[in-house]
Subunit: 106 residues, 2 copies
DNA sequence: GGTGTATATACGCTTGCTGTAATACTTCTG
DNA sequence: CAGAAGTATTACAGCAAGCGTATATACACC
């Protein structure tokens, strides 16, 4: 499984979104994805671990998951070649993105 | 099938890459993906069509495929939230991307 | 040590994607 | 109109991904 496939799954994107706010124990992630059972979430976390998008740290009987966003650069690299083809009226979006790069809010 | 799933398939990314150079008839795309048969390529093109990543124009008995890169903005929007978490030593990459935005080569 | 909590793995099932082969459809050419 | 070229669709088989249930492992606390 590669990074592209990993983020193709909506639940896995949701997990990454949750972890982008802060690191969280597995149980907290399970609680948020209330449509899935605990084993299902655990398996998604395993996949994210295997492609390097998250890392785990044990904390007693808990496992604390944290985002490793730099693995997304593989996606970024691929998609960047296509930016030049976007319509001009999307400049606002692009500027917004550029600002995000230069003024990280956190 | 959504855009994330569509680009999760390596052959489909290859098709988009080919179309980013120029629009091409289906047969030319089939010739480039020599590991796949014609029907396989045709179905990948159908999927790309259905999610709006390419559009088709008939030219006699040929079908000319062209890229519609703006559909990739859905990916861009999602991934943009994660840029702030990338390590600082990747600034060079980010600058490169920003330049691409501002000075389209074509 | 025993019990409860937290997380991971095993298993069986189902669904959906991928590929090939065969076929149909459309358009061009003579 | 016949035949060929270009492309799409259908039919079928194989495989992988996802799910839930059940079970195992690891740690915590008494």
């Amino acid at each position: 499984m590669d990074v592209f496939e990993a983020i193709a799954e909506p639940s896995r994107r949701e997990l990454l979104d949750l972890l982008s706010e802060r690191e969280r124990p597995a149980g907290e992630l399970v609680a948020h994805l209330h449509k899935l059972t605990q084993p299902a979430v655990s398996r998604h976390l395993r996949i994210l671990r295997e492609v390097g998008l998250v890392e785990v740290r044990p904390d007693g009987q808990r496992r604390i998951y944290a985002l490793r966003a730099d693995r997304l650069i593989e996606i970024e690299n691929w998609i960047s070649r296509y930016r030049r083809y976007w319509p001009r009226h999307l400049d606002a979006l692009e500027n917004h993105l550029t600002q995000n790069q230069k003024e990280p809010t956190e």
